[in-house]
């Protein structure tokens, strides 16, 4: 793999991977960087790099949580203070409010929403990443969106009731 390809891959997936890793731990930069380095060190390039990166990031973040729980708590507090999105608001939706609503979701819903919404992974890929099925990922995604809709006060156009 050429340096240009690696740079393109970083540009395309690093921001969403950071947001994805941020759902688990307070050191998303380290986890994402390690994932990319692990990808580069692979003898055989994975068939689909993006799902592979999400899987590695998730496992590394979970390991970090298990091994360094005390440090994680401190970094988690710092992570909440960190900015999650570039834009301050979009169409009246405040970025901090969106971040807070997202952070208030259960982890199993958050990871699916981030991987699908910002990572662009299909539900099959998300299911493989979380170690479940596509149906499981889809159910969690819908449940998370419903919770976000309620937290942010945005009515669903498909289901106004």
């Amino acid at each position: 793999m050429s340096p240009r390809q690696i740079a393109n891959l970083i540009d395309a997936h690093a921001p969403a991977l950071l947001l994805f890793a941020r759902q688990f731990c307070g050191c998303p930069e380290d986890v994402v960087q390690e994932a990319f380095l692990k990808l580069v060190a692979q003898r055989e390039w994975p068939r689909e790099a993006a799902p592979w990166l999400y899987r590695v990031v998730r496992n590394a973040a979970l390991d970090a949580i298990k091994s360094q729980r005390r440090r994680e708590r401190r970094e988690q507090a710092a992570a909440h203070a960190a900015r999650w999105f570039v834009e301050p608001e979009i169409d009246g939706l405040d970025a901090e409010a969106a971040s807070a609503a997202l952070a208030g979701l259960p982890l199993e819903q958050r990871e699916v929403i981030v991987a699908h919404l910002w990572g662009g992974l299909t539900f099959e890929q998300v299911g493989a990443t979380i170690g479940g099925s596509a149906s499981t990922a889809y159910r969690r995604y819908q449940a998370g969106l419903a919770a976000l809709r309620e937290k942010l006060g945005i009515p669903c156009t498909n289901n106004p009731s």
Binding site: A14, P15, F85, L93, I113, F123, L145, I154, T157
Partner: protein
């Protein structure tokens, strides 16, 4: 299966999806540098070859240092006994006719005049049987010049 209908159908997903994840704290250049370093495959051929040769050298040196010296091989010299010294033979007394004793014997033997043979004198030290027989010794014994 479930492809992304939510981005257009759900307003929450549509709004949230337009937010760009912040990666300002992410050092892209440092990651590229680290990736470049990580992508270099270590060349193990030459270190392995050098290590093998060094081990062989050390083994050879150890072998020569710990080898017990073998006893020196002395050349086997066989000393053959030299020719036995021929004792000086006392010459026979001249025959009555004045000719040498050897010739007198020969002549007497050829003509049958055995009575004219000079008397035989016993040798003090007869020649041993295993002594080297040479012309000189025979001549000396027979007093033949």
């Amino acid at each position: 299966v479930h492809e992304q209908p939510e981005l257009t159908s759900d307003p929450v997903a549509e709004k949230l999806g337009r937010f760009t994840p912040d990666a300002s704290c992410f050092d892209r250049d440092a990651l590229l540098f680290q990736a470049g370093r990580a992508s270099v495959r270590p060349r193990r051929l030459w270190p392995a070859l050098a290590g093998t040769l060094a081990l062989a050298q050390a083994a050879t040196l150890l072998f020569f240092l710990t080898r017990r010296p073998e006893p020196a091989q002395h050349p086997l010299v066989v000393v053959a006994p030299g020719p036995a010294a021929v004792d000086e033979v006392r010459p026979l007394p001249p025959s009555p006719s004045g000719e040498p004793a050897g010739l007198a014997y020969r002549r007497a033997a050829m003509t049958g005049e055995l009575d004219d043979l000079p008397p035989v004198q016993a040798l003090d030290r007869p020649v041993v049987a295993d002594s080297v027989l040479s012309v000189r010794s025979v001549s000396a014994v027979l007093s033949v010049d």
